[in-house]
């Protein structure tokens, strides 16, 4: 896979506040890459340096082979950008915004009306921006980010402030962008969003990248603990599990067994259940997620 974004040793301060202390990573063509972390971690600053909107104090950035700050206009024709908390003119109509954006890219521009249709905005084409709902505004911003058929799409906190339904709809749209062969670079402080959407994530805190990998590998690496809670008709069967590979403890509470361990614990427990032909009335696997990884790596919850 070809890297489309390469950043190395990027640093950016505002006065005495260090927004990005050190950021280095690569984003590959065709993947959804997520920069995740709490608010104020430096995600947006990092992204805006990559988009050419800010000049980093140190470090090198290459996007599609270009230096974003020096070749900002050429870069802008090849990328699509959605900014955090951006607004348009209150009384601009949806179709006017799409038309204006299309005019900026000349022949390269996608069919605006079709884009509006794909994003479910056709019946809002004459509405003023100020009268759109949060979800509709975000869908319009996605349309504007896609109007030049970009090679890389940047999405900054795309679903913040949206209700769950709108959020799920937008996740579907983002997956659609990847299916068209584009690279997506997004930031989010929602771990669920990162887990569901991203092929790879970089965890950022206090301006530093702490780790980068697929969500599954990150969970496996940092939170290998697994637990299975089962209810069995015969509490005596607890003893069978002590010999299962990976098991560290078995806790008994009436008919309820809590089996703790690491690695392929769930598979091994299922294997054991079927081998010993044990009757189970309830089965629940407790698996850590990115949220737990974040807690483990930083010692605090991302919501704090």
């Amino acid at each position: 896979m070809r890297p489309v974004i390469q950043i190395s040793g990027v640093r950016k301060s505002y006065g005495s506040t260090v927004a990005v202390a050190e950021a280095s990573f690569e984003v590959n063509e065709g993947e959804i890459f997520g920069l995740i972390g709490p608010n104020g971690a430096g995600k947006t600053t990092t992204m805006e340096c990559i988009e050419g909107l800010r000049k980093p104090d140190a470090g090198t950035i290459t996007v599609l082979g270009l230096d974003p700050f020096r070749n900002v206009y050429e870069l802008q024709t090849r990328i699509g950008v959605q900014l955090q908390q951006a607004q348009l003119q209150k009384r601009i109509k949806v179709w006017e915004a799409v038309d204006l954006w299309a005019s900026l890219y000349g022949k390269k521009a996608a069919d605006g009306e079709r884009l509006l249709e794909q994003l479910g905005l056709t019946d809002k084409r004459n509405a003023w921006f100020m009268n759109l709902s949060g979800g509709q505004k975000q869908r319009l911003f996605i349309a504007l980010a896609l109007i030049n058929d970009p090679e890389v799409v940047f999405l900054d906190e795309l679903t913040t402030g949206l209700d769950p339904q709108a959020r799920h709809a937008i996740w579907g749209l983002v997956r659609g962008i990847r299916e068209r062969g584009k690279t997506v670079f997004l930031t989010t402080h929602l771990m669920e969003e990162a887990e569901r959407l991203c092929d790879r994530v970089a965890i950022m805190e206090h301006g530093r990248i702490i780790d980068i990998d697929t969500p599954e590998s990150l969970v496996l690496r940092h939170c290998p603990e697994r637990a299975v809670v089962i209810e069995v008709s015969d509490p005596g069967s607890a003893e069978h599990f002590n010999a299962v590979p990976g098991v560290e403890s078995v806790e008994r509470n009436g008919n309820k067994l809590t089996i703790r361990g690491r690695g392929e614990l769930v598979t091994e427990v299922i294997h054991c259940l079927s081998e010993k032909r044990l009757r189970v009335t309830d089965f629940r696997a407790i698996l850590p997620n990115l949220e737990d990884v974040f807690l483990k790596l930083t010692g605090r919850s991302i919501r704090e």
């Binding site: 802008q76 950008v81 951006a86 003119q89 009384r91 204006l100 900026l104």
Partner: protein, 247 residues
């Protein structure tokens, strides 16, 4: 990027027309002041000085009001656009920053000229037959003055902290400029300190140019005024290029 400039200018014009009170407030109020004050003066037995004010002072004052309301409208819109992240969003496109700002200058210049046209029409209707000012020359003089004073608008737009302060801070800076501009009291009869202030303000040269052209003086008599207005434009544009904030 001419296509982008034209498109953006056209869209900004349409958006401006959709503002409640936007067009009426910015165009209508100065013209209304002109008509009301003018009628009040001409209704009385015209003493020579009042008559002189109605024929020279009033049109120039109304024009200055138009220019100020245009500049305030620019300052307000730029600060609203900055605060709302609209400027930033427009920048994250192939649009050059100067294209984005030029579109606003063009919209405001057109607005000024429309106001001016309305004022002429109102003047013809309410004060016939008085002086016959050189309309085309005067229009040019207004365009140059507006263009120059709009550049102070960008400096003001750079220093206002939030959109809420744009209008009051703009007014506090611009109206005193009118006070010392020679519109009401000749600059020569001002106290020395105020005279210095007057010479440091583009408004003074705009007033001198507008009054002169209105009464039919030739352009050659106002080379200094035009030069000063161009100089202020260059100076304020250079300053705002350094201190202008996009977000």
């Amino acid at each position: 990027m001419l296509r982008g400039l034209l498109k953006l200018t056209w869209i900004e014009t349409k958006i401006f027309m959709r503002e409640p009170l936007g067009a009426i407030g910015t165009i209508g109020v100065p013209v209304l002041v002109f008509v009301v004050v003018g009628r009040a003066i001409t209704a009385k037995a015209p003493t020579p000085s009042l008559s002189n004010f109605a024929h020279v002072g009033l049109p120039v004052m109304a024009t200055i009001l138009i220019v100020i309301s245009t500049v305030l409208s620019l300052v307000t819109i730029i600060s609203i656009y900055r605060e709302g992240g609209i400027l930033k969003r427009l920048r994250a496109t192939p649009l050059r920053p100067q294209t984005i700002l030029s579109a606003h200058v063009i919209v405001k210049l057109m607005l000024t000229l429309v106001s001016l046209l309305l004022m002429f029409l109102a003047g013809k209707r309410y004060f016939p037959p008085g002086v016959h000012p050189p309309i085309i020359s005067f229009t040019f003089a207004v365009a140059i003055s507006t263009w120059s004073i709009l550049s102070t608008g960008f400096v003001i737009a750079s220093i206002v902290p939030t959109a809420r302060f744009a209008q009051p801070i703009g007014a506090v800076l611009l109206y005193p400029m009118v006070g010392v501009s020679g519109l009401f009291v000749p600059v020569a009869s001002l106290p020395p300190l105020l005279r210095v202030v007057a010479h440091a303000s583009p408004m003074t040269y705009a007033v001198s140019l507008l009054q002169g052209i209105w009464i039919g003086e030739p352009w050659s008599a106002h080379v200094g005024d035009v030069g000063a207005l161009v100089g202020f434009f260059l100076l304020f544009t250079a300053i705002s290029a350094r201190i202008f904030r996009w977000e």
